[in-house]
Symmetry: C3
Amino acid sequence: MEERPLHPDRLLPADPAARRLARELYQSVEALPIISPHGHTDPRWWGENPAFTDPAALFVTPDHYVTRMMVSQGVSFEALGIGAGREKDPRKIWQTFADHYYLYAGTPSRIWVDDALARLFGVTERLGPDTAMDIYDRIAERLPQDDTRPRALFDRFGIEVIATTDSALDDLAWHQAARDSGWTGRVVPTYRPDAVIDPDAPDFTRNLERLAQVSGCDTSTYDGYLDAHRARRRAFIEMGATATDHGHPTPLTADLPLGEARALYARVRSGKMAAQDAELFRAQMLTEMARMSLEDGLVMQLHSGSLRGHSAEVQAAYGPDRGFDIPVPVSFPVALRPLLNAVGMDPRLTLILFTLDETTYARELAPLAGVWPCLRLGPPWWFHDSFEGMRRFREMAMETAGIYNTVGFNDDTRALCSIPARHDVARRVDSGWLAEMVLTHRLDEAEAYEIAPLLAHGLAKAAYRL
Amino acid sequence: MEERPLHPDRLLPADPAARRLARELYQSVEALPIISPHGHTDPRWWGENPAFTDPAALFVTPDHYVTRMMVSQGVSFEALGIGAGREKDPRKIWQTFADHYYLYAGTPSRIWVDDALARLFGVTERLGPDTAMDIYDRIAERLPQDDTRPRALFDRFGIEVIATTDSALDDLAWHQAARDSGWTGRVVPTYRPDAVIDPDAPDFTRNLERLAQVSGCDTSTYDGYLDAHRARRRAFIEMGATATDHGHPTPLTADLPLGEARALYARVRSGKMAAQDAELFRAQMLTEMARMSLEDGLVMQLHSGSLRGHSAEVQAAYGPDRGFDIPVPVSFPVALRPLLNAVGMDPRLTLILFTLDETTYARELAPLAGVWPCLRLGPPWWFHDSFEGMRRFREMAMETAGIYNTVGFNDDTRALCSIPARHDVARRVDSGWLAEMVLTHRLDEAEAYEIAPLLAHGLAKAAYRL
Amino acid sequence: MEERPLHPDRLLPADPAARRLARELYQSVEALPIISPHGHTDPRWWGENPAFTDPAALFVTPDHYVTRMMVSQGVSFEALGIGAGREKDPRKIWQTFADHYYLYAGTPSRIWVDDALARLFGVTERLGPDTAMDIYDRIAERLPQDDTRPRALFDRFGIEVIATTDSALDDLAWHQAARDSGWTGRVVPTYRPDAVIDPDAPDFTRNLERLAQVSGCDTSTYDGYLDAHRARRRAFIEMGATATDHGHPTPLTADLPLGEARALYARVRSGKMAAQDAELFRAQMLTEMARMSLEDGLVMQLHSGSLRGHSAEVQAAYGPDRGFDIPVPVSFPVALRPLLNAVGMDPRLTLILFTLDETTYARELAPLAGVWPCLRLGPPWWFHDSFEGMRRFREMAMETAGIYNTVGFNDDTRALCSIPARHDVARRVDSGWLAEMVLTHRLDEAEAYEIAPLLAHGLAKAAYRL
């Protein structure tokens, strides 16, 4: 067997008949434009179109998927360019990465990095201790060139539309700059109000003041606070937003009488919270956000179930998003009931659910999405954005949820170069799944050819109203 | 590939060698009689043998598997013939179903409907917007004929015995009518006492009065209430019952001292319950039901873990069983301990456990069934009565529970026409599983041929004492 | 298909291409020495090298995997040689086993027994009612011979090193005897202090007194108690130990201020415990054990999540370890946080986690092991030490944890004859998994040949510092 990072049949089923059909299905969707309705690319990239500085800054230091694995095997954050006494030489950081590249065997990160190295930089040998510097040089040489800048990559990747994720307090200046520049690439913001909804967020009280400034609404009352959200949502919509996103520890929702909600807001705003107030306020605000979606049409996303900053020491020394965010068990039926009973039958609402707890796929999420008109299932998220993760999602959720209650693929990444690789993995895995459905006569072959482009493109476009 | 709803090798493994063996195993059990020890067919069908009125009433309106999927995509209950302002024209309901039939791609419902359409009505083209009316007419033409009435279907389906599920308050008149008619089909009732065991059930107190009337026992005391159960169980046994069934929110059991149990009954009967009394009473009654099973030999079934009526609005407007019953996490070891420690080593008891939480298969249910003499594992239930659901059950439970601690297949349905399809799916999936066990040398081929008819027929007959 | 217990391709993938590669990978590791870093063989075997008495005592009576299955189908413990009125004739016990051997179809126990019968005793026909006595005689004839004694089996099995599991109160006399005998087989103890750490353990207070005696430390104070642990750990290290093992109901850890820990110890020692004290003390001691590991280098193992003695009646009549230990749900992130925040970034610590709750593989354990430098994932444990269990572990944990954060295989057994079979199963399943990784181009073929011996041998040796 020929050994090289990118085999044309990678991730397709091993069985010859299944591979043959999967390959044809894949080829029918391989070149479809990318819809990226949820991700974390830096808006500055789109507004300013800067060149990337060096290979380590592009592939290693900011990618917590990559750094966590080396940390797990004893590499220091400093050696990866992170923290006060950090290594400053990108060549040394790159060499450390290459020396440990064997650790990624069998992981999604290797697939993404291999794909990006080959697709963007023509690197088809395996990264390793011996090849590190040669590969570094070949990437570094290309980075200053125009065709490796963000907007050129947008075109090269075949992106039809990409959404960033933006604080409710963000002035969206980079989005404005992208528009003003005359560039025609479609980049839209997403309204992510966690900083002004989560009383446990750092600087919550100050964030409420900033919300008042940026919205022009009086956030000293609950009613003014809700108006501020409405104003900010309008501003996001004017900049192209079609969705909100909510990152909560749990999926709890609440639907309090107005008087109680006002009193709760008064408590969380003043910092005089009772024990469960923060959780209850987050819960209440999910329902308020859903109500606002009825009015303004923003699609709602809920990402819950991650315990952030598991290591206090790492959080303090190296900051958030360093790989120490660990999933915990969640359960949706009781948690979502207040919101759903308030607005769940309203045809104007779309609420897309994500989970890090795969036990909820078959037990809860598929039955919920298979009956509530507002609910859709987001694709496998974070640790589950992988070959096996996607297989499990299809196997566990589709029979009960049905294909049309899903929303295609999200890349969910801040690693720009990994975007085409991530979508490509999804298209391959879904093609393999469809092929096996056909070969076991659970789908007709013609249906598989209709469904494949929906999974790759159409469902995301429709669900996110893009 | 030829495209038609019913491929002869559907649901068998794609791998050629596995398919060859699976096909032979399947052919060895395909025509075995159907044992249906747990289901929800209407006893009136068997007592009166009426003709079905129209295709929509047969396939759409009463089947919550079917209606929930259309509701999830925005179709109103009314359009499906449900609720106050409901559509009355069955042709229009059928057309709505056909227009949305693409939603069922990859779901069990499509397999069942396709199978029933082909098997009973000779329909081998795909249901869809264009074929809807022609298919409707072909079904409607057949419904008044004798060979499409319930008892004829009983014979055509090859049913050896079928159990209905009946309230403890039911007079079993339709069962009596079936007997009196001289029809020889074996239809037996199942004792389902939830309405008089669950203090949260509607009209619980009135149900206790009705229990007194129908049993001739004084239900104003706990001892009389238990006697009433004994009397009703005897009446069910006289009508052929071999099993009880218990649908509880959780699998909690309790074994209170008699004085406490009497006091608890007094509280739940009077409606002056403390917070946990309803749950505790249900728990206590599971153990009492098990004790009665030692005396009268009724096999006990426990179905737990569904949160009923998730949408209050739907429950109020359209009633129960509309697809808004959502599974929640359950755990068995601590919950079942009181019952098991009371009677679990008694060789007279059989307790069959069902779950909607697949995480319990390998973690709890297989270890429990693999050691407690009374315990057996029911087949994949409800949302898990599917190709993937059955695969997961076999893969997760069999290594620890062993094949002989399972009870074959349940169709669990009120959709009469789906019964042969459901059993057929199970026989196909199990044949595929056995074939793969043989090809990986985890079973001998001769063993597989011995086990296949047990899975399809023998284990259910033995476990349910039929 | 030829039918016999041991097919040379057993447990390898059914697909021809995958099987071909898997077979070659398997052949490359089949004969590697066995590293058995965690198990329950009797130290007396190694110290005294006795002959085994009879086939029933070797294969049936002490093996709770074997006895539980017969009990689940109504066989009495007495018939299996257990309890007051137990059967004394090993031939009768063996016949009972053989009569019920069909129950093990598809279970790991059958694979292990078949393998041991063939490998050690040349038995290649299926055990059953008719073959029982002949097979009995052939085994019984061999047992007195030198080459069937424990030390000979050690050599025949190709064991490089084996660890026993020993109470903190054990004097390690059999280990000393093995050394003194001049035998060169490497057998090492493992420090298992549950009896002096778990306040719920039988005779806990007396155990603390015995700990004082055996350690020479004053266990009437917390500081002296900790010193006693240090002393015992040193004694174990002198006898070759490289690891500790902790069997706790839950993985809860704590890191109390010293004053609180001292007060807690005073309470648990005096038996005047508050409700949560036992759990809290176990939690605190896990962190203390981790701290001691920083000093003395012992690798730490945590086995949690089993509810022991589910049947009080069986526990009382037949003792512990009779198959009535049932897994319950566990969750690691919150539970382990105190320990990890105390010492988790220290490069001297290795903490190997085991679970009986497979839902934690992808959700919690892989993300935790994929970032914390101290954490490693133990292999599938107990009920999950099986074909399907190993597959699920690879599929659910590897993408996020990475291969190098795992520790190879543990046999975890007191059934000596099953050791080579258990390692053989792991090598086969891993070879099949690697082959499928290669065929779907998730690994290079050359990598698979590098990783296979690590899974079979190298990772265990390194992780356990053997």
